[in-house]
Assembly symmetry: C2
Homo-oligomer: 211 residues x 2
DNA sequence: GTCTATATACAGATAGAC
DNA sequence: GTCTATCTGTATATAGAC
């Protein structure tokens, strides 16, 4: 591995775990086993180094929609849920970093945030189109609103991943919940599609007094 | 407002928006319109100031479970969802800050993270107990698993709030999704537990989007 | 390309006048 | 309590030897 890449990798790691301000060039240099001056020889300034590190993060953010071919609608939804979850779980350091940037609205990484948002949008739109197709073909019940259901499924996934982030312990809870989410989605997409529309079924409006 | 409070408020704001490392005492002093030395006179060190700011954030983190009395199970679930969402939305700066600390696993704020996690747990457990009670009384369908369903609802809420964070623009999308989530939960909790319960059909609350 | 040495700025923190 | 002046360490960045 070239010296430049060594520096870049060290910088990416440090920036992602400690943030921009809390990471010094001296730390980067030490981690990369070079001198401070060499870091600035390759990357004009700390700012430039940071931007280069961002690009390093962006590289793996791609999505392959081809894997869904040949599956029925239910399997497609299942697979998309699993893929999204696994993808984010596999890139937790990057995700942490991006989330950190998002949270503090850092202007220097607007591009990164936009890129990740776009990727998120791709997943959500893909899920939406699967649901749409399922509805058109009457495979899914009529009360499914593709855009909204897709958005909520993604929200639930992001919530689980957030929990995964807060409790990085190998708590099997979150993994179980992913399975439970898939079951729940399946029930919703399966449930009595031929029955009358149940989307307008609500409980009694008048409060029932408790004992 | 006393000088100490003025400093504390400025510090809390800066720490929450820029993070610990990127916030200097000079910035805090300028924001509070005092000298650097005075900041350190009130708060022994930057570290102490930070911890004091954390306490400032913790104060509003309380929950009032009394508001659920007198509501039936469905209304309780609805209200809990709304309350949790509104609470977090009303404390977005604090939440951003906490999330930032969580994301970078900052040791100095482990106490804050623990406190917020505990609060989250309270909400989730409250929701779980509502679902449990509903199941015991056969108001909710038998396929409901209180713990898992509660966790997923909370995850979905957190996902929505995360989205709210990323797109702070007044996009009505997220707010609509909250309503849709409540409908979806209601359908799940209502659906055909007993056919008698489906008699309570009212006109759709919101217009349906047809593709 | 890689280093040491150094310039310059700013950080957190202290001393002491008022 | 509040300030100015200052100390000390460390940050980014540059200069120049090799």
């Amino acid at each position: 591995m070239g010296t430049r890449e060594k520096i870049l990798e060290a910088a990416a790691w440090l920036f992602s775990t400690r943030g921009y301000a809390a990471t010094s060039l001296a730390q980067v240099a030490r981690a990369a086993q070079v001198s401070k001056a060499l870091v600035l020889w390759y990357f004009e300034s700390k700012e430039h180094l940071f931007r280069a590190a961002l690009q390093h993060f962006l590289t793996p953010y791609e999505i392959d929609a081809q894997v869904l071919l040949g599956l029925n609608e239910y399997e497609q939804v299942d697979k998309l849920i699993d893929d999204y979850y696994d993808f984010v779980a596999d890139h937790l350091p990057s995700v942490k970093f991006v989330l950190g940037q998002v949270v503090r609205g850092d202007e220097t990484s607007a591009e990164l945030v936009a890129h990740v948002s776009a990727l998120y949008g791709v997943y959500r739109d893909l899920l939406t189109s699967i649901l749409e197709r399922g509805c058109e073909r009457h495979v899914f019940p009529a009360y499914i609103k593709p855009a909204q259901d897709a958005a909520l499924i993604m929200a639930a996934l992001n919530g689980l991943l957030l929990q995964h982030l807060v409790e990085p312990e190998g708590s099997p809870m979150v993994r179980d919940l992913r399975t439970y989410l898939k079951q729940l989605v399946r029930v919703r997409l399966c449930a009595a599609s031929t029955q009358a529309d149940t989307s307008c079924v609500v409980p009694p409006a008048s409060p029932r007094r408790e004992a």
